[in-house]
Symmetry: D2
Subunit: 353 residues, 4 copies
């Protein structure tokens, strides 16, 4: 049974994969690591909802060796952390998956574009650029083979995966005019993590909608690279306006593209159906996806609509940002890396109502 060491165990990302792994039949957790926690304290002390479910102790990063007693290390950590451990893990033949942008890019130049847009990365240079080419980008629906063989997987950004899954079939067919997509993204608060902050303060966010970082979010970089790479005709442009909502979980992206040939709605839905026919976690719907219909599950729900003159399309995708947008995708990738069914341990369905 593969052994997993989890770095960053007490953030929402760590919590997400911890809960999934606790119930997974084929992985064994051998270490939990977190900052700012009194060493040895049980994770259920900090999160009472885990009482009776997971009582593992937490270590500080100083007390352990990253990679020790592990077949895979999961970094649910901010940008820049996994870079520090990447070389030694790689040299030791220990695989790892990282939740930040550290290993989402194939080249130093692409990473630099991302880092330059990121609000908290100060030094745009990657510290181990030589490892970037061997890292796989963790969208299983597009990169199953490379993920299966990779030692390093860069788990995708939560906004990015919803945009990519929603637009990939169209970019793949090269039917998007100018490779340009306009995206209004709606997100719950949990994507910002557990750290109290003014934007996520309840009195401010409740009953509110807050557009932020208008046309200036770093997740567009990976979406543009992946989508542009699907047809190779020209760089993709994703004009993205994120909106923070007064809800905890979920990302719903509403995406507008001009089509370079006329299509009916039926044509469009068939394109999606075919593209995702082998992919359990993408559901193509006749009706518009809603935020709640994917809540707590690993699904990405997608539907598509066409303007009366058949020249423009609107694609809507919905995910749970902490599942398909983070830990669900991470586990799906880990399943692929170790040859298990991609859906193993991800059977939990949406929570409705």
């Amino acid at each position: 049974m593969p052994k997993v060491q989890l770095i960053g165990a007490t953030g929402y990302g760590g919590l997400g994969i911890l809960e999934l792994l606790t119930a997974h039949p084929e992985f064994e957790i051998t270490g939990l690591v977190a900052r700012d926690i009194r060493s040895g304290r049980s994770v259920s002390d900090i999160y009472p909802h885990l009482q009776g479910r997971c009582e593992l102790p937490i270590a500080t990063i100083d007390e352990i060796t990253v990679g020790d007693n592990a077949d895979i290390v999961v970094f649910s950590t901010p940008d820049g952390v996994s870079q520090q451990y990447a070389k030694s893990l790689n040299d030791a033949g220990i695989r790892f998956i990282d939740y930040s942008g550290d290993f989402r890019f194939k080249s130093e130049a692409d990473y630099g574009k991302y880092a330059g847009k990121h609000p908290s990365i100060r030094n745009d240079a990657h510290s181990v650029p030589e490892l970037l080419p061997q890292a796989a980008y963790g969208v299983s629906e597009l990169n199953m083979d490379s993920i299966g063989q990779a030692d390093i997987v860069g788990n995708p950004g939560c906004f990015a995966i919803g945009i990519i899954l929603g637009l990939a079939p169209l970019f793949d067919l090269d039917i998007v005019e100018n490779n340009l997509a306009l995206v209004d993204g709606l997100t719950g608060s949990s994507g910002a993590g557990k750290k109290p902050a003014p934007l996520q303060h309840f009195s401010h966010l409740n009953d509110n909608v807050v557009p932020y970082r208008v046309m200036n979010h770093q997740h567009t970089v990976e979406a543009e690279l992946v989508l542009g790479g699907l047809n190779g005709t020209k760089p993709a442009t994703v004009e993205f306006i994120p909106h923070l909502l007064g809800t905890t979980r979920g990302i719903l992206n509403t995406m507008h593209v001009n089509l370079n040939r006329k299509l009916t709605r039926q044509n469009l839905l068939e394109i999606f159906d075919e593209f995702y026919s082998e992919h359990h976690f993408v559901r193509v719907l006749d009706t518009a996806p809603t935020l709640k219909d994917t809540l707590a599950s690993n699904y990405c729900d997608i539907s598509a609509f066409v303007s009366d003159d058949q020249s423009r399309a609107v694609i809507i995708s919905s995910i749970d940002n902490l599942m398909k947008g983070q830990s669900g995708s991470a586990l799906q990738n880990m399943n692929v890396m170790f040859g298990f069914d991609p859906a193993l341990g991800l059977e939990r369905g949406p929570l409705y109502p």
Copy 2:
């Protein structure tokens, strides 16, 4: 002091104008009318929050004469109701304002386009088309003069007014390519009124986002006509995707246009500043508007952003759908009709936090 008769007093629209009129120094309420209410019952019996504030009795429509003892009748009623009383009121020289689409259009043909898209209008024909040309469309910021002289005012749709105010300066200058705007609208639940329904059922809507009537909402018709009329070069197209949110009040529209000449963000903000310099209730912001910053007030907050290549603009507008989107605009129109300061009785500011 002008006398007001209110038809439809117990819906959210009626409630909104009732609360405003109760505190208004220059209007007198002389009649409240509602369906399905036991005659003579006080409005505070039905709505306890009005206890000690407004104890007026409610009559049924059969017990009163529409227009009786009134200088103006406010119809906060569904489509089709005011049409039935329009001719007799007009003949009697009694002014009226209507919340539905009955008098938002200048011609039978335009009304027909709207009626054809409306989910609950069965007969597309207008019953008093001869009165349409004399009705004013109730966006005071654009039509102050015609509203001031009108006997009939068609109060705008809640989505429409946010779209129109957000795009009017650009259409007026004819700088929108193809007169085409793509709009993602986010709305609270109260726009659907007080009648319990599956979409507005708490367990369904809470924590949810529900796109609905994708590219098929009747409010686009009036927005397209008004915006297209501002430059007269070609019909406007508003591609509109409404999203229902788990919040009570507010509409935030995020709007995308291609510009037919390059503009900086500074240029754009100056265009808005100038266009609305005389208009108290439109606030042009440096930061993105939020839903909550207009909550409970009559403001429309607007900001604008430009893509890196200066070829595309994103405009965001925020209103309280029951105020600027309904009763606030209605009172503003009534103030204009009777020569009062447009802001009289609308001094209440946003409720934050």
Copy 3:
């Protein structure tokens, strides 16, 4: 593998048990029945979140025979429904579990007390009173043996089970003065089901707290009978004030009792620990339970506090009203009835954040 027929499959109760049974390794669903659904339609047509998870067709009650091809029938139906089928099922040796109050009482007299308080039961008489004595009351933590042998299980009321589990250890020890408990119950909206109604209308309930049926809720009857029965010294009185909250799921009961002997908080927690030592789904916490820490799970979290003079105790319990308060308990009971581990198929943990 026991076969299950589910009556009332499209309400929130039916949906809850359907989702659990779909993932359960030891039960097979052989029939779904609902009112007001076009016959033959798939349940995932009505609830898109089930797409790819459960595509079973739904029959109307007229098309099927209740009990046909079933080892157990689950009635997730309003009061009065299962009474109609009880005798024929019982005669045929088919077990059933009912979500309403039909089989929660041991005598016609007790049922009458409940029925008299119920807002929608018009005829207080039970139609098959002779079956009441053989029905088990479905709180597994108290009645494991009788449930295991019962042909009929009356699933408990959602408020009742949280009150009963929170107070049982104290009533069992007969340390509650006058057998009197004062209970403020806070509930999410989903307990009222999927039918749109004014109290559950989003615009009304959002940001609201609505006390209702103050000291007049029918669930107190079963709580009083069960608690009073634990020490047999005198009838129990539960003075209950339900409060409807603007949240979808969860019931948190805050309960006040006078103690007839002095106890420290430590004493109290030990009493609870011991009482529930064998019961997986009751977690005794050092900290006050929160609504969210049981969300989506079958746990009942409990903690207890004592006044400075040690004469009064406050007990707080938290459950997910659709899980431990309804379908989770139902499945737990079904597991007990068929000799499975009580927790089988109920492994899903709380959804946090």
Copy 4:
């Protein structure tokens, strides 16, 4: 026109009184002071919802003299701040009102009880105890005369005022057994202020109910003193369990007392009606108060219920914690202090829906 200097202008309390004063016809704001704000910045820079409404600059405490150019100073500041300025203001004959507990108590001993329970007061000693006897406790409905003559007013705690108004008529008549009340208080998040914190983090609080400081909240001290003082027979005990809700505004207290004589519900409601007959802001309702029916207004809604045996009563009160629970009461007190109608500037009604 009396001049007001506001200390602590950018917290929720400061914001609340600022908005009220901006619209008040008889007070003039002559100074805004706040910590941690770049000096000279306009308050509408920090709070965009004030744009076009209040553009006053903010000074730091070092730049101004407290009391300068002021007839009254409002301290919307944490415990301990106004104590530092009290003596010099008092000596200079400048009146002040304080939002903290600094001047809610008549004696050093009583203040010490409060300070000892307060989570952030380290030194229980009051620094100007000699001023305590001359301060009035700011519940206008009970202390109109003393407030009118006071130089110092201690504005009540948000929980305390709802408890006091709800129980005062019963304690005044000395009909509460043992002067003991059990209170479950439900509060929105805004009472905790604008500072981001784990309990008020959106992802934690949304859809949650969190009981906290069970039987250990400092507001009980003032409630016990005021209520006990009304009949003088024995000290009052308020056993209080606060619950934090996922809503922004509002406090609903559900209060249980044993009656020392039998009363019908009608008796009880008449007692309340009579007690508050002269008090505009207390509304006695036939139905249970709801949180939303007082939202954004200065009302305290109250109703009362009696157990079947007429031995116990349940009283429910609802306020907006930032209005009647804070700035609304402060302005009401200021009106009384300067001889204006208590309701001046407080005309705004509840925001429904």
